[in-house]
């Protein structure tokens, strides 16, 4: 096994244990791992961005291929930097205006088309289906998203939730029933979202534990076992130190 893999296993294992120590309580080991994570990810992003944007997409095409038109977006981008000079900060508004204008122009029609029109189209799909030879049919399968039963449930859900958020009419009488139905649909949606969130968080834990089990192998030098012991020992020493300091301070 290559030395890079072994070093990587030791670093990953150590940092995982350091982060997990937060479950016991906040401590310097957790702080070390947390700050390292932030530092490394920011450093990586800066280096990758510099290499891809400045070198690959700006410097090389201009200098090596003579694509001078690239100087226009570069100039617009440079206007952003005038934010750092208070007297010239107003110039950056031109760059922002360009970005907001282009961004809105691109995003608004596409978003309306994709999320509003398409979703309305799906919500108001026919509740009954006309099948050639069979006439008008109604499908009951809850497992089939396109079934007539699911179309009705979605229609009721959408209408009742929209009514729940309609505040111009007091929710009394039949309106109260509709609004309550909307609340029930919302609760089911929140429950489903929370269930998926729990599943996702557990998956992350499974991912880390799978790696820790893999790194307990002797081919890596058993970093999981050594570093687990070291982390527990450090926590015990820190707990003892803090408990011996407390009476003195008192």
């Amino acid at each position: 096994m290559s030395i890079e893999l072994i070093i990587g296993a030791w670093v990953a294992t150590g940092l995982t244990f350091f982060i997990f120590t937060f479950l016991y309580k906040d401590n310097p080991l957790f702080k070390l791992a947390e700050n390292l994570y932030v530092g490394v990810s920011v450093g990586y992003t800066i280096v990758k961005t510099y290499d891809t944007v400045i070198i690959q997409l700006i410097w090389k095409p201009i200098v090596e291929q003579g694509e001078w038109t690239l100087l226009i977006p570069v100039a617009i981008g440079m206007l952003m930097l005038t934010r750092y000079a208070p007297k010239a900060a107003w110039i950056s508004r031109y760059a922002f205006a360009f970005i907001v204008g282009v961004g809105s122009g691109l995003a608004i029609p596409r978003t309306i088309s994709s999320f509003i029109l398409k979703q309305i189209e799906d919500t108001v799909r026919p509740l009954l289906m006309l099948v050639p030879g069979e006439g008008v049919t109604f499908t009951w399968s809850l497992l089939n998203p396109a079934s007539s039963l699911n179309a009705i449930i979605i229609l009721v859900g959408v209408c009742s939730v929209l009514f729940y958020f309609f505040f111009s009419v007091e929710h009394t009488g039949p309106g109260k029933v509709v609004a309550r139905t909307g609340v029930m649909f919302l609760m089911i949606a929140f429950g489903a979202a929370f269930g998926y969130t729990v599943m996702a968080r557990m998956s992350l834990l499974i991912g880390r534990l799978t790696d820790l089990i893999e790194f307990s192998d002797s081919s890596y030098g058993s970093p999981s076992l050594w570093l687990l012991g070291l982390t527990i020992l450090t926590l015990v020493v820190m707990a003892r130190r803090s408990s011996s300091k407390q009476p003195k301070e008192e």
Binding site: L23, Y24, S41, Y44, T45, K48, T49, T52, V53, Q56, L57, P61, L106, A107, R110, T111, S113, S114, F115, K118, Q119, E121, D122, L143, P145, A146, I154, A189, A192, A193, Y196, T197, V198, M199, A200, M202, S203, L204, L205, I206, G207, R208, L209, T210, I213
Partner: protein, 281 residues
Amino acid sequence: MSFTERMLKIDRRIIFLVIGLCTLIPLLYPVGLPIKISQEVRGVYDHIESLPEGATFLLSLDFDPASKPELHPQSISLLRHAFRKNLRVIALTLWVSGTGMADQVVTQVAREMGKENGKDYVFLGWSPGGTAVIINMGQDLYGAFPADYNGKPTKGLPVLQGVQSLRDVNYAVSLGAGRPGVEEWYVFGRDKYKFELGGGCTGVMAPGLYPLLRSGQINGLIGGLRGAAEYEILIDQKGKAVAGMDAQSATHLAIIVLVIMCNLFYFSSRSRARQQGQAGA
């Protein structure tokens, strides 16, 4: 203090320990609980199966190491499937922090399947702009990525023969952990340039993407580690996702039991407090 009150004020570290053990024990001693294939995961699999040899398959790995446990197994399974079908694979990422990891997974699976860089697959790397990159690729793929991740010019690469823009892509899958991700690939890619799109995502994002699936805006969805496990079963190459399913089931069971117990203790303590109040009056 009664047993119920003690349980309601239990040290949360004991709960962490219980969850930790429920995860660790099934990983060490797997039971092999059955995994049922869902329709949404099958949607992605069936579409890749239906593609002819040499068709272009675009895989956008829009995640970073923070979502690795869920999306890394998905990407491995999809790449194995695509390479096994002899598709031409175009991989990229819209997340700068995931560039190195994306390169590693593409290179690793390609080497495992005996595929050649530039001929059978290409990793385009990362380009700034997020959604603008998708639009740019829709107009001119070579303008968005003049060179691949290794700095080799993309024009003239055998794997990109006949591919000018996203319109020439037969199937695209975005494995997204946030934005830009599956939604952006639909809004700025599929809706405009009319190619088939499938999605893969973290568990947190899955409920938000189901409306796109139902309306047919995406033709399949691989959700979280569970989706990855289903895909591993479909391609008959069990990996880390299948191995994690027992642990996932055990932790879910533990959480359900904890929720039920917590509610029982809560109602029990409330009724006792009410009885004591009545007795006091």
